[in-house]
């Protein structure tokens, strides 16, 4: 069982400078065809200073930083047992190439179902930019299956 002492635990802040080639790679991987996400001119015509990060991109920040690996290690969730249960975003302002996004997360809840056959970890995060402005809030539910 995952130790409930981790409820309230804060992960180390994860910092990601948003880079153009990374967003172009992400766009390619998801089959994005809208030039706003790959062509700086189109992005500027749409009112952005540079390419905007697509709606789900910010999930990468804590994967890149290793914060998620650390979370799994601390909570002793083995990768083979891990599933992604839910994911949510609420958006406050765009994150674009040139911005540096910092994600800070806290473990909100840990609970189980079916007599412990499934365990759930709820993590909430805030993403801010280099000016300290709130970009987005994230909510993640991870599932450990036994």
């Amino acid at each position: 069982m995952i130790d409930k002492k981790w409820i309230g635990h804060e992960l180390p802040p994860a910092v990601l400078p948003i880079e153009r080639t990374r967003l172009q790679f992400f766009a390619k991987a998801i089959g994005e065809t809208d030039p706003v996400y790959t062509d700086v001119t189109a992005a500027r015509e749409a009112g952005y200073p540079d390419l905007p990060a697509p709606p789900t991109f910010l999930f990468a920040v804590e994967l890149d930083s290793g914060a998620i690996d650390l979370l799994l290690e601390r909570l002793e969730i083995p990768l083979p047992k891990l599933l992604h249960g839910e994911q949510g975003f609420s958006y406050h302002r765009p994150a674009c190439v040139g911005d540096t996004v910092t994600v800070r997360s806290v473990i909100q809840d840990i609970y189980d179902k079916r007599d412990g056959a499934l365990e759930f970890v709820v993590k909430t995060s805030s993403a801010t930019n280099q000016r300290g402005e709130l970009v987005a809030e994230l909510r993640t539910v991870l599932v450990c299956r036994h």
Partner: protein
């Protein structure tokens, strides 16, 4: 892009569906690299089998990214206020995902006129993989 407006959109309206190519190993490797998800269960057949899975399978966030494309084809991303999904089933190799969305509510949210979109990703056999909803502010 012609942006839908609050007054012209009606409950029951459907977003133009998005058909995604069948999931293959190359796609999973590309998405793993691009999204920062290096979990070998999506990339390495040997690892997946040791974990008790018949084969590698798609990252949940790939399906959510596709659902995001469904939304940003309909409205500019700056109008998106909330986007929440539940991963219901594993998206396997060979699954061709169809993303659909339907207006289910018109409401005021934090002082803005919004619509709530119910989202679903299903494969070619009609199995649901992702359900969710999005809140979009409309002019």
């Amino acid at each position: 892009m012609t942006v839908p407006t609050f007054d012209t959109v009606a409950v029951g309206d459907e977003l133009p569906p998005l058909e995604c190519p069948p999931v293959n190993r190359t796609l999973l490797a590309l998405f793993g690299g691009a999204s920062g998800d290096h979990n070998a269960i999506h990339l390495d057949l040997d690892f997946a089998r040791k974990a008790g899975m018949p084969d590698v399978f798609a990252q949940g966030m790939l399906g959510m990214a596709w659902a995001g494309r469904l939304l940003t084809r309909w409205i500019p991303q700056a109008r998106l206020r909330r986007f929440d999904v539940r991963f219901q089933g594993i998206t396997h190799l060979g699954n061709g995902i169809r993303c659909t969305g339907r207006v289910v509510e018109k409401l005021e949210y934090e002082g803005e006129r919004c619509v709530r979109i119910e989202l679903q990703n299903t494969n070619q056999y009609g199995q649901s993989k992702i359900v969710g909803d999005a809140l979009i502010a409309l002019p």
